[in-house]
Symmetry: C2
Subunit: 164 residues, 2 copies
């Protein structure tokens, strides 16, 4: 019991000897996401953005004129959170909001030149960082990672049509 051993379980290890957690899919996903993102998120903050802001920027650079709700889904954030993030980014001049002429409830969001410039700086950084990660993986089973993740997402999207 209580492996109080200040020995084998030494100070430094993270404790993943082989219990439940270290082989549990949801842990592996969360840990991988956390650890893999950490370095790049530091770059994001150096560029003066918070993580959710970077996500919005990236989404908009893909799909300009998206609506708040769309952005919330894509950027993995809550709607009310997105509303405020968009407001702050608008104040900073990164984007503008325009109500959709076809449906006044909708707010469409467009990058400004400043926003596009920032995206043009960060997206390539993201690509380079991703390339470095992929480089670490080539050869290993890690090479399968992206297809495997897409497969999981596809399977889940099919099933749980709750959120739509």
């Amino acid at each position: 019991m209580t492996q109080q051993k200040t020995d084998a379980t030494s100070d430094k290890d993270t404790g993943q000897e082989g219990g439940f957690v270290s082989d549990y899919l949801l842990y592996l996903l969360a840990a991988a996401s956390d650890v893999a993102s950490a370095q790049f998120h530091a770059q994001v903050r150096k560029a003066g953005l918070r993580v959710p802001e970077w996500r919005v920027l990236a989404c908009l650079s893909d799909t300009d004129g998206a609506m708040i709700t769309q952005l919330a889904r894509q950027a993995l954030a809550e709607q009310s959170r997105l509303t405020r993030i968009i407001a702050q980014m608008e104040e900073r001049g990164l984007l503008i909001r325009r109500s959709d002429p076809a449906d006044g409830r909708r707010v469409r969001v467009y990058l400004t030149d400043a926003g596009r410039a920032l995206a043009a700086e960060l997206v390539p950084q993201a690509r380079r960082h991703e390339a470095a990660l992929m480089e670490m993986l080539k050869g290993n089973e890690g090479a399968q990672l992206k297809p495997a993740l897409k497969s999981l997402l596809a399977a889940l999207d099919d099933t749980a049509d709750q959120r739509r």
Copy 2:
């Protein structure tokens, strides 16, 4: 079907047509983690725990007597956050804190019977949920997911020995 589609980008789709984001590793990881965890996290909350509390419980059921800092790493939470979570869980009678006789700075955390009972209820639920997920993946490339994630984590742990 009020398909209010202001054109190609219709209402329901998440907008991942094929831009940068939808093929970006860090997005895939974060999204997969989010979506895959959502259902189970709902069960966790029904059991009266918040997600970080569940994580602590699971880690302790693997490694009883862990210290706060260890738990923070394993449960993917900040140290100061962990301190408070542990305090709250102690108040609820799920665990107890004992200062390590060998090193008075360290606080070792042990599950109580109540804590162990709750873990004995939730861990099997987690296993079943995981099994259901794996079931969805068998056949596809998704089957490679766990090895691929482990490979990524291993590669990153090797590199960034920052946090240790």
